[in-house]
Structure formats: C-alpha cells, structure tokens
C-alpha cells in the first residue's frame, strides 16, 4: 500500500495584518498551519524580523551594535541605517526617553523623533513606548495622530491603558494596536475581546503575549504560545487569531548571560557572542511556537534568524 502523507488541516487561519504602506509594506500572519509546517500548506507570509533602536541610542551596548551605528548623529540616522539591513522587514523605535522615571522627555519631543524616524525609512514602523502605562497612553495618542496614514503598530495597549490607546490608535487614527499581556493566556484573550468591544476591527490588532529570555521561565512562554496557536487554529477562536509579535531583544540583552563582562566571567567567553546566542535562541524558539514576528537588535542575530526562516520556508 502506498504511503499517504497525513495533512493537518484547520478550518481557521491567523489573521493577516498589514503593516506599513507602499512597496515595503508587509503582512503579519495569514497562515493556517502549525509554525513552519509548509508540508501541510504553503505559508504565504513567512515570520518577519524587526530591528529595534532606542531614542537613547546604544552607547552602552556591545561593540557589534555600537559599531554598526557608528557615525549616526540622530535617531533618524540610526533608523535609516537599521532599515538598510537586508534581512530587516520593519523598524521599531523605542521611545525610552519618555520614561517619567528616567529622562521624562516631553511628549512633543517624542512625537518629533517618531516623525523623523518615519520620514527616514520606507519600511514599516513599530512604535514602542517607555513602559509607563500612563505616559505611553499620552504618547501613542499624539504619535498616532502625527503618523496618520503610515499604518504603524503601537506596542502596547495593556489591561491598564487599553481604552485610550485602542480608541486613539485603532479608531481615531486607523493604525494597528498591539495588545500586550504578560504570559497569561486568559488575559491575552480577554484583552482582544475588550479592544474589539471598543470597536477596533480584529484585523487591526496584533498580540504581544509576552516573553522572557530563554532559560527564564521560558517553558511557560512556549506553552502559552502553543495554547494560543492551538485555540486559534484547532478551536477557531476568533479572539486569539491575531498574529503574534515578540520583542525578544529587550529581554535577552538584559539577562546576566548577555551582560556579565568577560572580566567577571572569563570562563563564559565573549560577552557579545553570548548575547547573540541568547537573542537567536529565544527568537527561534518563539518563532517555532507560533510567533509571526520577532524584534531583535544585533545585526548578526538578524542575519542568523533570517537565514533560518529562509531555509525553512
């Protein structure tokens, strides 16, 4: 009897969400198979890679990143440089300077930065806040207004501030809302329900269900991704079919494996190599578990992950 290859079929798909405008716009999601299961059905939109820059610059970063941006005078210069990386599909600007516990830059300044970045690049833009719920809400409203028509994604709306962010970003200015939960299945779904109930079309929502650096409670991250993916595909749960974006670099470059100096940890070898390994390992694991996009920092990590995606899809 000839071998008949079993095909895992789902009557459901991850939403296809468009980011950016013009020639370089991209689509996140759209797949109706398990991650990288191209043998079950074609995956039209391979996972995407974003490069992360901060409006505080990368002065304190490892040589490979610092050297890459050498000569850049402004954040817009950095964005331009980042966008030129061949394997990069979109650029993420972190508005770290807005943090009230840090520089506490006024909203107007951040809007200017975002505008300058958006004008410097033609790839899609992701705006990341300063991780202060109140400030992010003020920030995103003004930035979304200034970037109307750019179809940018804003990370993120959380349980604490989703109302104003979803209303401004998703409804008033017609851009993409990132719904962030921290590795909590039920909250991930609930937030999508709440944002949908405000009137934002499910097709304009992207999820960030949270992550950790690999080795840091990471099994829980992976099982959350698995469960969300299985609810979306095998249970056809419309409230979990938003594509997932995972900011990897902000986690992996903050753990001791990446930050410990070679003087302190001579037996661990090159700090930069360790940092890249952490970034690549984490990114690959979340992609293999259903994330439709990852956000990275180091050019070598970006190249490595891009190669993996190309080889598999």
């Amino acid at each position: 009897m000839p071998f008949k290859k079993p095909v895992q079929k789902f009557n459901a798909a991850i939403n296809a969400v468009e980011l950016g405008v013009g020639e370089k716009k991209i689509v996140l999601g759209g797949q109706n198979v398990m991650p990288f299961y191209t043998f079950d059905n074609a995956i039209e939109n391979p996972p995407r890679i974003g490069v992360e820059i901060s409006d505080l610059g990368f002065e304190d970063q490892v040589p490979g990143i610092r050297d890459f941006y050498a000569g850049c005078k402004t954040v817009a210069d950095m964005a331009k440089k980042a966008a030129e990386l061949e394997d990069v599909d979109f650029v993420c600007i972190r508005l770290d300077s807005a943090d009230p516990n840090g520089e506490n830059a006024p909203v107007a300044d951040c809007v200017e930065t975002a505008r300058a970045v958006s004008e410097a690049i033609d790839k899609p833009l992701v705006i990341i806040g300063c991780d202060n719920d109140e400030k992010d809400a003020q920030l995103f409203e003004k930035v979304a207004d200034a970037l109307q028509g750019k179809n940018a994604l804003y990370l993120s709306a959380k349980e604490e501030n989703y109302k104003s962010i979803a209303a401004a970003v998703g409804l008033a200015y017609g851009q993409k809302v990132g719904a962030e939960s921290s590795v909590d299945l039920n909250l991930a779904k609930q937030l999508n329900v709440l944002i949908s109930q405000i009137g934002v079309d499910a097709k304009n929502i992207v999820m960030n269900i949270g992550t950790a650096a690999s080795g840091y409670g990471f099994e829980y991250v992976i099982s959350t991704l698995d469960r969300v993916n299985s609810a979306a595909l095998s249970q056809n749960d419309a409230m979990l079919q938003m594509p997932i974006i995972t900011p990897v670099s902000s986690e992996t470059w903050a753990v001791k494996e990446s930050t410990a100096t070679e003087e302190d940890m001579p037996q661990w070898g090159s700090a930069e190599t360790r940092g890249i390994s952490m970034e690549v390992t984490t990114a690959v694991a979340v992609l293999a578990s259903g994330s439709s996009a990852v956000i990275l920092r180091h050019p070598t990590s970006i190249k490595t992950v891009a190669k993996l995606i190309k080889e598999l899809i």
Binding site: L185, N186, L187, K189, Q190, V193, L194, Q197, R227, A231, Q235, N236, D237, M239, L240
Partner: protein, 261 residues
C-alpha cells in the same frame, strides 16, 4: 472534540407568525427571528417548513437564499418531511460556513434520508427510533448501528452523522432520563457526534422552570459527550450554561468576558 454546536429552532412553521410568513413568502418575520437567534449565539439555524406538500421546493429554496444572503451564508438545517424540498434547498445552499444538515432520518420510514444526505454531501441528523420511543438502550444502539452502517455504505463520513438519542419529556418519563444520557455516552465512546431536541425534556413545565431544567439537562448531556443540540438560543440561561460547559471541557479558552462572545 470541539466546541458545542447550537442549532436555533425558532424558524418553525408551528409558530403562527412564521407559518403566515411562509404562506405569503414574507421575509420580515423570518429575518427577524434569524437575527435574534444569531445575535444570541446560534451556530446553525433550523428551517422547518412543515410537510409543505404543494410548494415545498419553491419555499425551501426561497428560505435558504433569504437567510444565507442576509446573514453571511449562515449554515442551515433543512427540516421537512418533503424530500424534494430538502434537495431543492441544498441545490441553492452555499457551503462557505458549513455543510447543510438534513433534519432528519430515523431507523424507520425516514431511513432513506440518509441516502439523500450522502448523495448531497450533507450532514444527517439520525434519530435513534423506529416507531415511537425506543424501549431501552439496546434498541437505541441497534438503530444507531443500523443507520451508521447505512451511511457508511453510502460513503458518508461518520462525523457527518449526528445521532439523536431522542430526548424524552421528564413529566411522565422521569425514569427514562438517565438512559438517554447513557445513550449519549455510548455515542461519545464510539467517537460519534450527537444532537437532539433538548427542550423536549422540559415540555409541559411552567415557563419559568423550563430554562432551569434545560440548562441542567444540557450540562449533564455535555458531560456525557453531547456535541450539539437543537435549542432556543434566546434562552439566556441555557446559552450561558453551554458556554460555561465548553470552558470546563476546555473546548474554548477562558476569558473574563467569555459570556459576551
């Protein structure tokens, strides 16, 4: 295993409003009932046109097109004793949101509705009775087996045969209720899908009691593995019970707003 499927029962020619609308082919009352049921969370809508001996084909075609055009190709259960009318309905049916359901076959006179469903790639509701109420589960399961074999012989997938244990009225047949639940368990153990006119159990009870009794019955039946039921989706307590049971069974992922979606 999958999420419980509700088939809304309120487009039924036994209701005077619907009967009149069907007689005059007046869309409004039918659309209104369809909308109410879909809003309340019905997955399928049952369309019962009665025996419709004279104009069944025309009427069923009209009803199928009317509902599917107005409600995004809502999947339907075509419910009539008139076989030609069912075939006519399927001929204009859009499958984008799910196969049509033929309601229904039994192990007696209506067994050839299985052939009809098989020939039209439809789902069949297979009522486990021949003449009246089966005496016990031996009889029920013999009918189940007989209909299953008939369907398989015609090339049907077992998953397209939804077995109906025949829900019985509690007032009068109280001693038979656990048996019905056991039959559902046996269907589930065989990996078969099931459905049925669940609210029959509360027939004759005061109006305020019926949602309570129906909710208890659906919860117990879902525990036994019931995969679908023909219900009044506008019964909020019943729908909330079904959604809650789906959560407990891990068929839908919990979120605080689960009752609102």
């Amino acid at each position: 295993m999958a999420k419980f499927i509700t088939i809304g029962e309120r487009i039924h020619c036994i209701s005077p409003v619907i009967r009149e609308a069907m007689n005059n082919m007046d869309p409004e009352p039918i659309l209104k009932r369809a909308e109410e049921q879909l809003k309340a969370g019905a997955d399928y809508l049952d369309v019962n046109i009665g025996p419709a001996e004279s104009n069944g084909e025309e009427l069923m075609k009209w009803a199928v097109k009317l509902l599917q055009e107005n409600f995004d190709n809502v999947p339907l259960a075509l419910d009539t004793a008139n076989k030609k009318a069912i075939e006519a309905g399927i001929s204009v049916y859009n499958r984008a949101k799910g196969k049509p359901i033929v309601n229904s076959a039994d192990a007696g006179e209506r067994i050839d509705n299985i052939d009809l469903a098989a020939a039209n790639d439809a789902i069949i509701i297979a009522l486990c009775s021949k003449e009246g109420v089966p005496a016990d589960n031996d009889e029920r399961m013999a009918y189940c087996q007989e209909m299953l074999e008939r369907g398989m012989m015609q090339g049907m997938e077992a998953e397209d045969m939804w077995f109906d244990p025949l829900f019985l009225v509690i007032k009068g047949m109280q001693d038979k209720q656990m048996e019905v639940l056991e039959a559902i368990k046996m269907f589930a153990d065989m990996g078969l899908n099931s459905t049925g006119g669940l609210s029959n159990c509360s027939n004759g009870m005061p109006k305020h009691i019926r949602p309570i009794m129906d909710s208890a019955m659906v919860a117990m039946a879902m525990q036994c593995g019931l995969t679908s039921a023909i219900v009044n989706p506008c019964d909020l307590r019943l729908m909330e019970t079904i959604k809650s049971c789906d959560i407990i069974k891990n068929e839908t992922l919990y979120a605080d707003s689960y009752l609102e979606i």
